[in-house]
Symmetry: C2
Subunit: 139 residues, 2 copies
Amino acid sequence: MNQNIERISRILINNNIKPSFQRIKILEYLLENKKHPTVDEIYVSLHPEIPTLSKTTIYNTLNLFLESGIVRALNIESSESRYDPITDQHGHFKCDHCGSVYDFPVNFENIKSNKFLEGYEVKEKDVILKGICKHCKEN
Amino acid sequence: MNQNIERISRILINNNIKPSFQRIKILEYLLENKKHPTVDEIYVSLHPEIPTLSKTTIYNTLNLFLESGIVRALNIESSESRYDPITDQHGHFKCDHCGSVYDFPVNFENIKSNKFLEGYEVKEKDVILKGICKHCKEN
DNA sequence: AAATAAAAATGTAACAATTACAAAAAAAGT
DNA sequence: ACTTTTTTTGTAATTGTTACATTTTTATTT
């Protein structure tokens, strides 16, 4: 447990972010539960452990993480942003029925090799699929 | 001009949508200016010609179009939805600098052939790239 | 260790996109 | 022409997010 906190602190420090308690907990949550949570989900999950936690802090922290590039925002649904720690490249499948967001591997090379994008500097890529997931199909 | 309206009326009728003036104008705007406009952009553009036009009508109409599948919503930025008439499949490149959204062709077959998505019903696909566009690069 | 300065966290209010809802206007049916 | 249904409209409510001032915590200096 303590080792985990040290590991996460190191990630923050490496990105020039002071490892405060809240920041550690928020990043830990993102890394442990790879659920692409919304701000509200983070808040509800961490609030029991950190009763003074404010949503503004979560917003501030996530924006800080975004600037440093340790997380990225997923705008799958227009009504809410979800947050994803940046690891390997992958696409996202959102189930219209249960609302879950699943990761799946994507070969971005096929997309990049495109004449139409010559001269364009691509910084961020995402593949978003929507539909009904396997689990919902089966029920 | 009149032919255009007839053409657009027919699209609506084919999708079981009564071709009211507002609906025709909104769909016409989407089809003519392929700019992936926001609701506000549609409103500002059509308001001079239709002074009584209400944003609620635009929202209602777009939701109607979404249900019928003649347009789809692009959630590139979390703060706003953009709307795109459905034609051929293509990806979207959004320039972080000038804000423009460019279309580019995408071969979705490369993405679909994926073991991880077996059993999943994919209804909607999008590839979203962000970065700096050619025009902004040159300046 | 106490005092001071700087950074981070917090709560409230403001904001903007969207939706809910009821009333007004227009269109369709009788 | 009258009634019913559909469409449009304006206002108010809702929700995710940001702005901002205050409080708390952390770091620095004496």
